[in-house]
């Protein structure tokens, strides 16, 4: 197969898997300069959201380093075929694991993760503390959502994905899912949120 370099506007349209295949093909044909463009689109495309997700889990001063590590690991595994499933799902898994590894290392080397509360008056040095400050919490955020989603049927899961996580209005969701009313959308979303709250804090509502 002959490698054909693609212009940026075409590369932007490729799926993650297609981009990785493109980079690999460029490498195999000795044209990694073209593959670099694919790498740039992939790394730039996810770096900020990886940092945002990590900022919920770990102290601010380690977010950049951990985001780098997560992206490198995820792309390397996708590139050499050792990743599992779609790249996006794999990247999410690696982000979770990277946060867990951080806490494991912090246990071995406590000084690495000094929290801002230990630097009273120096918050500008360390920034905000993570919102989820435990190894378990770092992993559980995404697992909890998946677990609660699994209690809904496929159609209702789609409603939740579109309405809660994609920000579509109830009316827009109804336009996409046959037989769904705006009241139904609101009820399904409300049930999802109630189950999520109960899962996050079983004692909260008695």
């Amino acid at each position: 197969m002959t490698f054909e370099p693609l212009p940026d506007h075409n590369l932007q349209q490729l799926s993650d898997e297609e981009l990785i295949a493109y980079i690999r093909a460029a490498r195999d044909e000795g044209q990694l300069a073209h593959g670099r463009r694919g790498l740039a689109i992939l790394v730039y495309g996810y770096e900020r959201d990886v940092k945002r997700r990590l900022s919920i889990r770990v102290p601010t001063h380690v977010v950049d380093d951990l985001a780098h590590d997560a992206l490198v690991k995820a792309i390397a595994a996708a590139f050499d075929g050792t990743s599992v499933g779609e790249f996006r799902s794999w990247l999410n898994t690696i982000v979770d694991r990277t946060a867990v590894d951080h806490f494991r290392r912090a246990g071995r080397r406590p000084k690495e993760t000094i929290l801002p509360s230990e630097h009273a008056g120096e918050d500008d040095v360390w920034g905000a503390e993570p919102q989820v400050e435990s190894k378990a919490g770092a992993v559980e955020l995404r697992m909890i959502v998946d677990e609660v989603l699994d209690t809904f049927n496929e159609k209702h899961r789609l409603v939740i994905e579109l309405h809660v996580f994609s920000g579509l209005t109830a009316g827009e969701v109804c336009d996409r899912i046959e037989g769904m009313s705006e009241d139904n959308v609101a009820q399904i979303a409300s049930r999802f949120r109630a189950k999520l709250r109960a899962r996050l804090d079983p004692d909260r509502d008695g």
């Binding site: 940026d8 593959g35 790394v43 730039y44 999410n92 920000g167």
Partner: protein, 208 residues
């Protein structure tokens, strides 16, 4: 609309508009009782958000560009992920390359062949030295210096090239993109200085 609903909606709107969308700023606005719920919802939204469109102007000089530089050297090279891992570990340990080399040479008992150690270490960071040839003794010493296990370093060296053999791509071409090297550093793409006889340092870095 609850506070969590409103904050999540505002967050999604800011994210989609290309704003900062810092989760912590929104979480700090939620009541303590609602923070975990909002964190979970924002995280789930981010895990599903589409890939950000590429922006060359913002990419230039960004941390993303540095990561791409490192990955490019790794993919082109013969040392797995070392080009992406070793410079970062060195930075996190707060060591300049010359200081690391001093310590590595001392740990290997090769203070009198420091320049040879420097050449090999440079090749490791650039992805030019086949990872499979580097001995456990080097990785153990290096791991102690940068705060990583020898096994993790070995695993990083094996990544991308599971067989332990590097791709045929010309690694030297990509080394040209490397960050400015200190004066006196070996030229990228050159083989380690095999001047003179094969000695213990060669054995440590190429003989495994």
């Amino acid at each position: 609309m609850s506070d969590v609903d409103r904050l999540l909606a505002d967050y999604i709107a800011e994210h989609r508009a290309g704003g900062e969308a810092d989760p912590c700023a929104y979480l700090s606005r939620a009541s303590p009782a609602e923070r975990a719920e909002l964190a979970t919802l924002i995280d789930a939204y981010l895990a599903r958000a589409p890939r950000q469109p590429f922006d060359q102007a913002r990419f230039g000089g960004s941390t993303a560009e540095r990561t791409v530089d490192e990955l490019e050297r790794a993919i082109a090279g013969q040392a797995g992920l070392w080009p992406a891992v070793l410079p970062r570990l060195r930075d996190r340990a707060g060591l300049k390359r010359s200081a690391l080399v001093d310590r590595l040479a001392a740990a290997l008992g090769a203070e009198d062949r420091r320049e040879k150690v420097a050449g090999y270490y440079h090749e490791m960071e650039q992805g030019l030295l086949p990872a499979a040839g580097v001995s456990d003794r080097v990785l153990e010493a290096l791991g102690r210096i940068v705060g990583e296990t020898a096994q993790a370093l070995r695993d990083a060296g094996r990544a991308l090239t599971p067989s332990g053999e590097g791709p045929a791509a010309p690694a030297a071409a990509f080394a040209r993109r490397a960050y400015a090297e200190p004066a006196g550093a070996p030229s990228p793409g050159t083989q380690p200085p095999p001047t003179g006889e094969w000695d213990e340092v060669d054995e440590l870095f190429r003989g495994a």
